[in-house]
């Protein structure tokens, strides 16, 4: 039983995340607890994106455009509201936009058998370019009078001192965890990620699964963007740049296999928690913020390398016994 629990990569991440959290609490003290709401807020934003990235990676593909989609969709959301459209309608329209962005990537990947890494790298450029072009480098913001709108309050407000986005993130994790493990959809995603040929031989509509997976990935990225826009009331050109890399790093730390076919949504969110904990701790301890980049890189390579080495070591030990 215990063996079963510790052999799950998610258990290791959960333990690491908890340990890190406690260590930093000890090191930083009171300020660490005061920072907790904003820590959890950042976890929920990146977490929502990472859920989508995890699903895409489990299906055997990559989506590098999520950071740009995050910025692009939240920018469109703000622009729609500036043009006088009600927040609810603007929200629906920007979600529709996010979904069509994802569906387009998924369709192109499937139809032309393109390497998704390169295709979404292209889209990363395209959407970031559009954001820079439209905003002309200036930040956009939400007008004062609609900031108290119920939808914006629901998405970006606080309840009992905690940001609503944390609850939203938890609901999404639950929903997609169930969808990935108990529903036919998750079954198909795992099958396609494991072997496209085998999946298609068993009658799984591979193309449709890919379109769905990319649509969910972009939708969640756009949704996280809209939530953060509702909370901050503004979007700038550099919003969420390099977020795709953070999301992939988190997903990898959370135990998702980069080769596809294996991994959990909640593991990815635990990975996000680990990363954001490190980030906030470095900031609070007054370490140069650029050190976070180095830490991110080392953790990413280290975790993946460990995953390659540890099973070999364990196997060797087992054989020698």
């Amino acid at each position: 039983m215990l063996k079963n629990l510790t052999s799950r990569p998610e258990a290791v991440v959960a333990a690491t995340a908890l340990a890190l959290f406690l260590v930093f609490w000890g090191l930083i003290g009171e300020a660490w607890l005061n920072d907790l709401p904003s820590l959890l807020r950042d976890v929920s934003w990146l977490g929502i994106v990472a859920i989508g990235s995890a699903i895409v990676i489990v299906s055997g593909e990559f989506d590098l455009s999520v950071g740009s989609v995050y910025a692009f969709v939240s920018m469109i959301f703000l622009m729609l509201m500036q043009s006088g459209i009600s927040p609810a309608l603007a929200f629906l329209l920007s979600m529709a936009l996010a979904c069509s962005i994802g569906a387009l990537s998924g369709y192109l990947v499937w139809r032309f058998k393109l390497p998704s890494l390169l295709l979404t790298l292209g889209f990363l450029f395209v959407y970031r370019g559009l954001v820079e072009w439209i905003t002309e480098g200036f930040p956009l913001s939400i007008a004062e009078e609609i900031q108290s709108n119920w939808l914006l309050q629901l998405l970006g407000g606080k309840t009992l001192g905690l940001h609503n986005s944390i609850g939203i993130c938890l609901v999404l994790v639950l929903f997609y965890a169930v969808a990935m493990t108990k529903a036919r959809f998750g079954n198909h995603v795992h099958a396609v990620g494991d072997s496209e040929v085998a999946a298609s031989a068993n009658g799984i509509p591979v193309g449709l699964v890919k379109v769905k997976v990319f649509t969910i990935g972009a939708m969640l990225a756009g949704f996280a963007g809209v939530i953060s826009a509702a909370n901050l009331s503004s979007v700038s050109t550099t919003t969420a740049s390099a977020m795709e890399f953070e999301a992939i790093a988190a997903v990898v730390i959370g135990g998702v296999s980069l080769l596809g076919g294996a991994g959990t949504v909640w593991g990815a969110v635990l990975g996000v928690f680990t990363l954001i904990t490190l980030k906030h701790a470095l900031i609070l301890m007054g370490v140069n913020i650029f050190a976070y980049q180095i830490v991110l890189g080392v953790v990413l390579v280290g975790v993946v390398a460990l995953k390659g080495v540890v099973p070999k070591l364990l196997a060797a030990e087992w054989v020698s016994k």
Partner: protein
């Protein structure tokens, strides 16, 4: 397949047509004014082109390097640090900096190949690490070559022009010829193409995929470092944001020039011409007064178009992909 004329069958054909179109378009759109900016376009082409040669070689072997932009900047930082803090002359500093670049490539390659981690993830990690180190050592600004070394013969040689063409452009031309020959005619070249096509088939024929890919990784980082040092000499400084997005530009150029991430097929002069197309676009758009964001979006669109086009053409012409 046999009926297709030899010329159209070459993977570089589309980039040649693209380059001619771009030159013609800008020459006409700016009433010939653009032609006078060709020297500066070539100078940018040299910076990115030297890096793109390495990227193309690595992509032909079936791997990719996302860290080239960071290595470009960081090796420049090492070079300046050696001259400034260690008091070395220009020539020994260049030699040591290039050695560091090759070491970085070896590290990337060893981590990826021996620990079985996808190169994309390893180099994503090292992209963060070296960019972080660059930010920290430049304090977010820039580093400059010490004043007394600015008249060094090597620096003057690199800043010099021959028939109004920068020395770096000539270096790029020499390297292009050298590596085109290397990929097409030498043993290491055919090994690189073999492991890119199929690692198992290569192994069965006595070609070691690990040794071959490791060489490609080393060459790739070495060239990125070389370009970094050349630019540091030419401009006298390295900035914290030097080479940002270079990984994206070089990958886009490699794809435009006929490489695919699937490996096995590759070109050196195609990608260099691809860099020329991208640099012409950059210069041309600036001259026409378009915002720089157009360039980013266009690079993305070109990358996507060149991914899809060959597959469309192949299926139209009835060639099995």
């Amino acid at each position: 397949m046999a009926e297709r004329p030899q010329l159209l069958a070459r993977i570089e054909t589309s980039v040649v047509i693209g380059a001619i179109l771009v030159v013609a378009l800008f020459a006409v759109a700016t009433h010939g004014q653009w032609l006078s900016s060709i020297p500066s376009v070539l100078r940018i082409t040299a910076q990115i082109g030297i890096v793109a040669i390495g990227q193309a070689l690595l992509m032909t072997s079936g791997e990719v390097d996302l860290s080239v932009g960071s290595v470009f900047a960081f090796v420049g930082v090492i070079f300046i640090w050696l001259t400034e803090q260690m008091g070395l002359g220009i020539a020994p500093a260049i030699a040591l900096a290039l050695l560091a670049a090759a070491t970085i490539g070896a590290l990337n390659g060893l981590t990826s190949l021996f620990l079985n981690v996808p190169s994309m993830i390893v180099t994503l990690g090292s992209m963060f690490i070296y960019r972080g180190l660059t930010y920290i050592s430049t304090m977010g600004f820039s580093l400059s070559i010490p004043r007394e070394l600015r008249r060094d013969p090597v620096v003057l040689f690199l800043k010099d022009r021959v028939w109004n063409i920068n020395t770096t452009v000539i270096i790029l031309a020499v390297l292009t010829v050298l590596f085109t020959f290397l990929l097409a005619k030498t043993r290491i070249g055919s090994h690189i193409r073999a492991v890119g096509g199929s690692t198992t088939a290569a192994l069965a024929n006595g070609v070691s995929p690990v040794a071959t890919k490791l060489k490609a990784f080393i060459i790739c980082s070495f060239l990125a470092g070389l370009s970094g040092v050349l630019v540091a000499c030419q401009e006298g400084s390295v900035y914290s944001t030097s080479g940002v997005q270079m990984e994206l530009e070089t990958i886009a150029a490699a794809v435009i020039g006929g490489c695919t991430l699937r490996g096995g097929i590759g070109s050196i002069w195609g990608p260099v011409l691809g860099v020329f197309v991208l640099s012409s676009l950059k210069g041309g758009l600036m001259m026409m007064g378009a915002p720089t964001s157009w360039y980013i979006a266009l690079v993305g669109l070109l990358l996507i178009a060149f991914l899809i086009l060959p597959r469309l053409l192949n299926s139209r012409m009835g060639v099995a992909s």
